[in-house]
Symmetry: C2
C-alpha cells in the first residue's frame, strides 16, 4: 500500500504535477475551474496527502512549531500545550514537544533537535535566566518566544503571567486581614525571574504596610526548616505564601501533619496549578495563572513574528485570584 504522491494524482487527472501543486497551494486563479474540480475529486478518491518533508525541503517553512517545556509532569504544561494547540490548529501547524525535565543538557539537545527539524518557530520555557546560555539559538536566527519566564538581558519576546501584580494583590488581601508576617516559600534550585517577581510583589506591600517578609528556600519539598522559623516568632499573625502548586501542596501536608489549623493557627496562600484550592477544606485562597491563555497568547505572538515581523514585546496574561478561607 504505497503512499500516493503528487505524480500519481497528476497522472490520474491527466495534467502535470505543477498544476496539482498549484491546487494544493491555493493558486486557484491559475487553474481552470474544470480541472480544479477534477483535481479535487482525484485527491479525495485517492486519499492523497502531500508529503510534509518534501514540501519543507523546497518551501522555507515546515509548518512545525517546537515547544520546550521545563517540566512536563505538571498541569501547567498541560494547559499551556492545550492553549498553544488551540491556535496551531487554526494555522494548520503541528507541534513538536520536548521535555527538558529541568536539565540544561536536555534543553540544549532539545533546542538543537528542533532546529534540525527546521521548525518555523520555538516556544521556550527557559531553564536558565542567562541569555548567554542561548547564544547558539540567537545566532541561528530562529523565531523564538519565551513563555512563563524571561532571560537576561532581553533578546526575545515573552509571554508571562502578571507575577508581580498578582502577588501584590494577594499580599494586599493578606494585609487587609492584619497579617503581620509572610513567609515566602520557594525552591532553592529555582532562580527564575518569575519567582523573583512574585517575591517583589509581596515585598512591595510588605514595605508599605510594615509586614515582616521572610523567604524560605526549600530543597525536595523538605519543610523541616519551617518549624524553626515558625517557632521563632510565636505570637505573630503569620501566613505562608507558596510560590507554586507543588509547594502549596507540600505546605498543606506539612501543616496538617503538624496539627496547624487553617486559618486559625496560620494563614496560607500561593500559586495553584491544579485547582486544588476549591476542593480542600477550608477553601484555599489561590492565584491561578491561566496557563491555557498564556499558551494561546504565546502562539499568537509567535505567528505574528513569523508572519509580519513584529517588534519585541513582553506580554502579560492576567492571573485569577480566588479568595476563599485560608487566611
Amino acid at each position: 500500500m504505497d503512499k500516493v504522491t503528487i505524480m500519481d494524482v497528476a497522472n490520474e487527472v491527466g495534467v502535470s504535477k505543477t498544476t496539482i501543486s498549484r491546487y494544493l497551494n491555493g493558486h486557484f486563479d491559475r487553474i481552470n475551474a474544470h480541472t480544479r474540480e477534477k483535481i479535487k475529486q482525484a485527491i479525495d478518491e485517492m486519499g492523497y496527502v502531500p508529503n510534509q518533508q518534501a514540501r519543507t525541503l523546497k518551501a522555507k517553512h515546515s509548518h512545525l512549531i517546537g515547544l520546550v517545556v521545563a517540566d512536563m509532569a505538571n498541569l501547567y504544561s498541560s494547559f499551556l500545550i492545550r492553549g498553544i494547540q488551540n491556535v496551531l490548529r487554526e494555522h494548520d501547524y503541528s507541534l513538536l514537544i520536548v521535555d527538558s525535565a529541568n536539565s540544561l543538557t536536555n534543553e540544549k539537545k532539545a533546542l538543537t533537535q528542533l532546529m534540525a527539524s527546521n521548525v518555523d518557530g520555538i516556544i521556550l520555557q527557559p531553564l536558565s535566566v542567562n541569555s548567554q546560555d542561548y547564544q547558539f539559538l540567537v545566532e541561528s536566527n530562529t523565531n523564538v518566544v519565551l513563555v512563563d519566564r524571561q532571560t537576561r538581558p532581553t533578546v526575545w519576546s515573552s509571554v508571562t503571567a502578571d507575577n508581580f501584580s498578582a502577588s501584590r494583590e494577594m499580599a494586599l488581601a493578606l494585609a487587609k486581614q492584619k497579617y503581620q508576617r509572610i513567609i515566602f516559600i520557594s525552591l532553592a534550585s529555582d532562580s527564575s525571574t518569575t519567582h523573583a517577581l512574585r517575591y517583589e510583589g509581596l515585598q512591595k506591600v510588605a514595605q508599605q504596610k510594615s509586614i515582616l517578609l521572610d523567604a524560605l528556600e526549600v530543597t525536595d519539598n523538605d519543610l523541616t526548616d519551617l518549624d524553626r522559623l515558625l517557632k521563632a516568632t510565636p505570637h505573630t499573625k503569620t501566613a505562608l505564601f507558596a510560590v507554586n502548586g507543588q509547594l502549596l501542596i507540600a505546605c498543606l501536608q506539612w501543616l496538617q501533619e503538624h496539627h496547624y489549623v487553617i486559618p486559625n493557627d496560620i494563614g496560607i496562600t500561593g500559586y495553584d496549578d491544579s485547582e486544588l484550592g476549591a476542593v480542600l477544606s477550608p477553601g484555599i485562597s489561590t492565584i491561578d495563572q491561566n496557563p491555557q491563555e498564556i499558551g494561546q497568547a504565546t502562539a499568537r505572538l509567535l505567528f505574528e513574528y513569523i508572519g509580519g515581523k513584529r517588534g519585541h514585546e513582553d506580554a502579560e496574561v492576567a492571573s485569577k485570584l480566588t479568595l476563599r478561607h485560608s487566611f
Copy 2:
C-alpha cells in the same frame, strides 16, 4: 546566517558529500580513519546538523513518533508524555503531539496530519471503541500502539492500566470494611473499555460478597442525581467509587457541600490522577494508574514493533492502590 549543509562540510574537508553522508550514517568501515577525524572536526566547528526532512525523504524513517491524546488538560497526559519522552530520548526520536480534545473530528484530522508527516509510529489514546472508525489508519499500514484504552475488535497492540484487577482489589478492601453498597460514578459521555473494566472489577466482588452495585452516569460533573440515590437507601453502608480524578474531585466537593462526613456518613474512593488523595483530609484511598510507566511501556512496545516486527500484545501496567482513611 544560512544553514550549513552537507555540501559545505564536504568542501571544507575536501571530500565529496558521499563521504560525509557515510560518516553521518556510521558507515565507518568505508572511510579512512584520517578523513574520518577531519570530518568530525569540521562538523563540530561548523556546527553542522543534518537536515531531518531531507533525510526522511530518502531514508524511509522520519525519526518522528506521533502521539494523539484524548484530553490534554489532564495530569494523566502529562505523565504519559513524560514517560514516552524518556524512552524516545534514548532512541533519538522526536515527539509530535496532538490533542484531540475529545472530538472525533479533531482526532481524525490529527491522525491524517501525523501520517502526512511520515511519522514512524503512532501512539493513540483512542476516542472511539470502534475499530472501524480507524479503518483508514489500518489501511495505511502505520505502526500503531493504543494506550490507556482499547478498540473492538482488536487490531493493534495496547498498553493499559490493570483496570479490572485494581478495581477489584479496591472493592475487596471495601468489602472488608463491611460496605453494603457501592455507587460507581462515571461520565455518560464515556463508553470506553477502560471504564467498563473498572465496573466489572467492582461487579466481580459485589457478586461474591453480595454488595449492592449501582452505576450513576453523570453529565458535566452534575451530581444532583446522587442525592436521590443516596436517600433511597438511608441505612445502608455506602461508598462512592469515582471512575476518574475529575469525578473524584466533583464527588468530594459535592459531599462537602451537602455536609457528609467522610468516612462516617459515607465512604469514597476511586481513580486519582493528581495525587490529591494524600493532601485531602481525611486521606482518600485511591488508585493511581502510573501513567508515566504506561508511557514508557507504550513507547518501548512501539519501538519493538518498528524494529523487529513483534507480534500482537496487550500489556497491562500495574496500578498502585493507596489505602488511607476515606472508607
